[in-house]
C-alpha cells in the first residue's frame, strides 16, 4: 500500500528478534506484503468494533432521555448527555443498598477464599507429608465434579441451618478453600519456587507457619493476584447464587438488582435507567480487567478455565 505502511513494516521487523523461532514464519509472510498487513488491521479493527459495540451502546443509552430511548435506535449517543441519570441512580437508596451488599459479599468471599487457598496450597506444594498425594488426587477429582452435583443438597443444608435468605451461604463456604481450579493454578506457581528457601528458613528455626507467611507468601504475590482477580470477577458477576440465596429485598446484590430492573414490567421499559445501573455495575470489573489483564491471559493459558 502506501509508503506509510511500509515504514511500519520495517519498524516491526526490527522490533522482532530474528532468532526467535515463534516469529520466523510471520516475518516472511507478512512483512513482505504491505497489503496483507493492511488487511489484518482491517480485520482487527472491525472485529474490535464488534466486540466493543455493546459496551459503547450501553454507555450511550445510559445518557439518553426517556423519549430518545423509546425511539428507533439509530443514534449512538444522545443529543444532550443526561448526566442526571447517573446522579439520580447514585442517590437511589435501593441502588446504594445493592452496591453495598455486592461490595460486602465480594470482600468477605475474597478474604476467606484467598487466605484458605494459600494455606492449603502451601501444604500441597511445599510440605512433604505422607498422604499428600491421596488428598491432592481427591481434590483434583473434584475438578471434574460440576457445580450442579452439589448445588441442590447444599441448598437443603443451608435451608436447614436457617441461612436462607442471608449472605452466609455465599460467604461461608469460601473459607474452606473452594474452587479446585484456583488451587491448581496457585499450586502450579508455588511448586516452581526453589526448595532451598524453605530449608534455609528451617535451619534458622522457623516453623512451617512462619515459612509460609514470611518466605512463600511474599514470593507468590503474582499468582495470588491472579486467583484474586478471577475470584473477584466471578463473584461480582455472579447471578445464580444471589438469585437462590438472597431472595430478600434488603439482601439484593448488583447482578440481581440490574436483572430485576428489567423484570419490573414497566412500560415503556426505562432502558436508560437499566443501562445506567449496568454501566455502574460494569465499571469495577472493567477497571480490574484492564489493570490486571496480564494475569487473566496467563491464568487461562495455565489452567484453561475461565474462572
Amino acid at each position: 500500500m502506501s509508503t506509510a505502511t511500509s515504514v511500519h513494516v520495517t519498524e516491526s521487523n526490527e522490533a522482532i528478534p530474528v532468532n526467535n523461532p515463534r516469529f520466523g514464519i510471520f516475518k516472511r509472510s507478512y512483512s513482505m506484503a504491505g497489503f496483507g498487513k493492511f488487511m489484518i488491521y482491517v480485520a482487527l479493527i472491525s472485529a474490535s468494533a464488534f466486540f466493543l459495540f455493546p459496551l459503547v451502546w450501553m454507555t450511550g443509552t445510559s445518557l439518553k432521555t426517556v423519549e430518545e430511548v423509546g425511539q428507533r435506535q439509530l443514534n449512538l449517543f444522545p443529543e444532550v448527555a443526561q448526566w442526571g441519570n447517573y446522579t439520580k441512580m447514585l442517590n437511589d437508596p435501593a441502588f446504594q443498598l445493592a452496591y453495598g451488599n455486592s461490595v460486602f459479599v465480594v470482600i468477605i468471599v475474597l478474604l476467606g477464599t484467598v487466605t484458605s487457598i494459600c494455606l492449603v496450597v502451601y501444604a500441597f506444594s511445599r510440605l512433604e507429608w505422607r498422604g499428600r498425594n491421596i488428598v491432592f488426587t481427591m481434590m483434583m477429582a473434584t475438578l471434574m465434579l460440576p457445580a450442579q452435583a452439589t448445588l441442590v443438597p447444599q441448598y437443603v443444608l443451608f435451608h436447614q441451618l436457617r441461612w436462607v435468605p442471608g449472605f452466609n451461604p455465599i460467604a461461608i463456604p469460601g473459607f474452606f478453600a473452594g474452587g479446585a481450579a484456583l488451587v491448581f493454578l496457585l499450586r502450579q506457581f508455588m511448586a516452581t519456587l526453589p526448595k532451598d528457601l524453605d530449608e534455609a528458613a528451617m535451619i534458622d528455626g522457623a516453623n512451617p507457619l512462619q515459612i509460609w507467611w514470611y518466605v512463600i507468601m511474599p514470593l507468590s504475590r503474582p499468582a495470588v493476584a491472579t486467583i484474586t482477580v478471577f475470584l473477584f470477577v466471578g463473584q461480582w458477576n455472579n447471578l445464580f447464587m444471589p438469585l437462590i440465596y438472597l431472595k430478600d429485598a434488603s439482601l439484593t446484590t448488583m447482578p440481581v438488582y440490574v436483572a430485576g430492573k428489567y423484570n419490573l414490567q414497566e412500560s415503556p421499559i426505562p432502558w436508560q435507567n437499566i443501562m445506567t445501573a449496568s454501566v455502574l455495575f460494569v465499571i469495577p470489573v472493567m477497571i480490574v480487567f484492564i489493570l490486571t489483564q496480564r494475569y487473566f491471559t496467563e491464568g487461562i493459558a495455565l489452567t484453561g478455565t475461565k474462572g
Binding site: S29, V156, T297
Partner: protein
Amino acid sequence: MLDQPKLETLLWAFGTIVFIFIGSILVAQIARAVARGFRLSPAEQLKVYWGFLFASPWIIGFVIFVVGPSLASLYYSFTDYKLGKDINWVGLDNYRSLINAEGRDGRNFNRAMFNSLYYAIVGVPLQIFAALSMALILNTTVRGVRLFRLIFYMPVILAGGPAILLAWRYMLADNGGFVNLTLGNLAESFFLFNWLYRGFIFLVEGFNGFFIGLTNGNPTGPLTFFLPAFVAFLIIISLIRGEWGDNKREIARRAIEMIGFLVGGLLVAAGLMAEPIDISWTFIWSLMVLAGWAINTHKGHATRAQLWQWLGLGLLIVGFILTLITPVPEGVEDATLGYLTAIAFASLPILFTLVQKIDHRVFLVFGALLVGIILIRVAPHQLLNGKADVLLRYMTFQSAVVQPDNLDYLNTEYIASYMDAAWLFFILIATLLGVILTKSAKLRQYTLIGATVFFGVVMINSAIDGVTYFRAYDHIAQAEGGSNFHFARFNAATSTVPDMSSNPKWLTNDLWVKPSLILINMWSAGAGMLIFLAALKGVPSSLYEAAEVDGANRVQRFFRITLPMISPAMFYNVVIGMIGALQTFEAVYILRNNDTETSVMSAAYYLFQRTFLQANIGEGSAISWLLAVIIVALTVMQFRYSNWVHYE
C-alpha cells in the same frame, strides 16, 4: 453501613474461622496419632501433623460441602422430597419420568436437553470458528496486538454478568432495535446483501422450525437408523484414506472403545427406564458391565493396569452369566432384550483388549459367551419381530415403512427404537475388529470398501425413508386436525419467502431465540481464543518453513500443518463448549421471556427452575445427578482422548 444481616454474617465468618482453626488442629492431631500407629519416625509424624494442619480447611470443607451433600443428593433423588414436606421413597421414578419425558416436567427436561444438544451441534462449531478466526488474526506480529487481544477477550468478562446481556437484549429488539435497523438499512442499500439477509432469515426459520418439530416428542421413524449409519460411514471413510498403519489401528481401536462407552451409557439409561421392576437386576448388571468395561480400558502403570483388567474381566463374566441365567420378566421383554444386545456391544472392546494383551483362550470363552447371548436372547426377538429385514430392505432401496397410510401403524406399531438401529453399531464393531485383526492388506481394503458402500447406502436410504415417513405421518396428522407434527413449524416458516418488511424476531420468537443466544456466545468466545493462541504459538516454525520450501501455499499450510497441530486445543474447546452448553445459565435467565422460555432454556436453567423456583428437591437432585454423569463422562473423554487427537 453494616446492617443486621451483614453483622450476622461477620459473626458467622468469625465463628467459621474459629471452627476451622480448632477443626484443623483436631484433624492434624488425629493424623499424627494415626502416623504414630503406623510407627513412623517422630520427624515424619511432625511432617504429617503440619501437612494436615495446613490442608485441613479443604478437607473439612470437602466433607461438609461435597461428600455429605453428594450422598444426601443421591438419596434425595430417589425420593419425592419437597422443602417443608415429608420425604417418601419413590425409587427410580424421578429418573424414569425425566428420561422417558413423562408429564409436563419430564417433557420440559427433554426440551432443555434438546436445547443443549442444539447449542452443542450448532453453537459450539460456530463458537469455535469465531475463536479460531480471532486467534488467527491475533497470531501476527503487527503492532498493538496486545491491545487487540485485550479487546477480544473483554466480552468474556462482561458476558458473565447480567449488564451486557441486557444491553444485547435492548439491541436485539424486533422493531426499532439497533441490530434490526442496521441490517434493514443495509438490505435496502445493497441488493446483494438483501438477498443474503432474506436467505439467512429463511434458513434460520426453516432450520429451527424443523428442529422444534423433530424434538416435539413425535416418533423419529427410520431416521433412527440414520445417525449410526452416518457415524459408521465417517469412521470407515477416515480409515480408507491414506496408508494403513499403527495410527489407523489406533483410530479403529478408539472408535470401538467410544462406541462401547456410548452403548454402555444407553444401556444404563435403558436400565433406569425399566418397567415395572424397581432398580431392576438388569440395571445393576448393566452398571457392572459398564464398570467392567471402564476398568478394563484403564490406562496407567503396566502391572496395575493388568490387575484392573482382570478385575473388569471378572465383573463382566459374572454380569454375563447372571444375565444368561435370568428369565426374562413378563412385560419387559423389549427393554430387557435391549439391554442384552447392549451388553454384547459394550463388551466387544474388551475382547479386543484381550486379543492384544492376554491369552487367546480367554477370547474363545468370551466369544462363546457372547455368541450364546446373541443366539439365545437377541436374535429371536430381532428376527421374529420383523426388525432384521429393515437392513435388507434398505440394501435393496426399498422403504421400511409398509403401511404409510395408517396413523396407528406409524404411531404405535412402527416404532424404531434406538436398539433396532444398534445393529448398525454391531456391524461397525465387527467390521473394525475384522479390519484390525486381518493380516492381508487386500482383504482389509475390500472389507473397508464394502463397509463404506453398505453404510453409505443405509445412510442415504434411511434419510430418504425418514422424510417419507415424516411426510406420511404429517399428512395424516394434518388431515385429522393435529398441529403438533414434525414439519408443522417448518412448513409455516418456509411457506412464504421473506419479503422486505420481515426481520429477525430475535428474542420474541421461539425460532430465533436459540440463534440469538449463539450470537452472544460467539461474541464472547475469547476464552477459546486464548487456548487457540497458546496452541498456535506452540507450532514449530520449522514445519512451515519446510512446507514453504516444498511449495505449499497458505491454505495448504493451514489445513495440513496448523489444523492438525492445534487439534488438541480444538478438541479441548469442543468438550468445554459442550459442557458449557449444558451449564449456560445467565444468558438464558436474561434473554428468555414467557413465550420463549422452553425453547431457550438449558439443562442448568431447568434445574434452577425446577429446584429453586418450584422447590422440588427430589426431582432436582435427579436432574443434577444426570447432569453430573454427563459432564463427568465428557471430562473423562477429554482426558482420555486429548493425547490422541493429534496424530502425525
